[in-house]
């Protein structure tokens, strides 16, 4: 039972770690693009948020799995 709780915690933590790094890379690229070409800022912002939200799916899968794990306790 304790192991399940630890597993849920690790699942969330690792998912957040990966997604955080990935979103950082996306934001990095978008910021570079914006500073080079400020006139396409609006378009870049929309695409950046879109890419980030798609990436967040992995985090959400982690969340669902940890909720299922917690339900088994």
């Amino acid at each position: 039972m304790g192991l399940i709780a630890i597993g849920a915690g690790i699942c969330m933590g690792l998912a957040a770690l990966g997604v955080g790094i990935g979103q950082g890379i996306v934001a990095n690229g978008a910021m570079h693009g914006m500073s080079r070409q400020p006139e396409i800022m609006g378009k870049l912002l929309v695409n950046m948020i879109l890419a980030m939200a798609i990436m967040e799916t992995a985090l959400v899968f982690g969340l669902i799995i940890s909720i299922i794990l917690l339900g088994k306790m």
């Binding site: 939200a53 798609i54 899968f61 969340l63 669902i64 917690l70 339900g71």
Partner: protein, 265 residues
């Protein structure tokens, strides 16, 4: 924690077996659809050449939807698919942000999002096959190389699953966070006051993010992904691949003819 408490409440049972029922989310979904339809008919009535009042707002939204569809689907298909995408995004944004008025968000139920994703899947496959024909669809699926058909089948089949789980997970997660925060606030305020007074204002920042920002983003993403995949399905084989296939076929024919000539001579 009990998983059964997290699902949508069941309101109506049909029959005695208890296998057929209507859950909270389904009822709210139907009610929301009816409300949106009535509001839409009211907004679309009595239109004038010079827009005034409510018509300005409606024209803004409709114009944006047509522009959005044209950007994502191309000029050819924009007019026929814009009404569908407009309905989808409007319904999704309203359904996701029902937490604002204290109702469980409709899309925090995996059945609803799975139904929507199945709708998108059927739309994409049906339109791709109707537009290209079965042969064209197969040729498009093995676009640069023939073994890519495996990848294409896998990506086509996982698309509705990820679409459903993304929407469900984001809205469900937001709902849980808001609920946990409300529980914490009522526990804290119970220590000094019989009325859960801390719950009233402190939740507003969370509502702003999880019930206003996230719904718009998730509704937009659902619509945009459907549109992009629809376009990819209807686009057909790329010209470079067609050219390459034609050339290799010609080469094979030439070789065959040369062999036949050799045998004859």
């Amino acid at each position: 924690m009990n998983l059964n408490e997290l699902g949508a409440r069941i309101i109506v049972y049909f029959g005695s077996s208890g296998k057929f029922f209507l859950s909270e989310s389904t009822c709210y979904a139907i009610i929301l659809a009816v409300i949106l339809a009535v509001v839409g008919i009211w907004l679309g009535s009595n239109l004038q050449a010079v827009p005034k009042g409510k018509q300005v707002l409606v024209e803004l939204f409709v114009g944006w939807i047509y522009k959005f569809t044209e950007e994502n689907l191309g000029k050819e298909f924009a007019r026929s698919f814009a009404p569908y995408f407009g309905t989808l995004i409007l319904w999704l944004v309203c359904a996701n942000s029902l937490g604002l008025i204290g109702i469980r968000p409709i899309t925090a139920d995996v059945s609803i999002t799975a139904g929507l994703a199945a709708l998108s899947f059927v739309l994409i496959q049906y339109n791709a096959i109707r537009h290209l024909g079965i042969g064209g669809r197969l040729s498009e699926m093995r676009d640069p190389f023939s073994f890519m058909i495996i990848m294409d089948i896998i990506s086509d089949l996982t698309f509705p699953v990820t679409l459903a789980l993304r929407l469900f997970g984001n809205i469900f997660g937001g709902m849980i966070v808001v609920d946990l925060w409300l529980n914490l606030m009522s526990t804290i305020s119970a220590t000094f006051c019989p009325v859960p007074i801390l719950r009233c204002v402190t939740v507003i920042p969370l509502n702003l993010f999880f019930d206003m920002f996230e719904p718009v983003i998730q509704g937009y993403i659902f619509t945009v992904l459907t549109a992009i995949n629809l376009r990819r399905g209807m686009e057909g084989t790329s010209p470079e691949t067609l050219e390459r296939r034609r050339k290799s076929k010609e080469k094979r024919l030439a070789k065959h003819q040369a062999k036949q000539l050799e045998q004859a001579g």
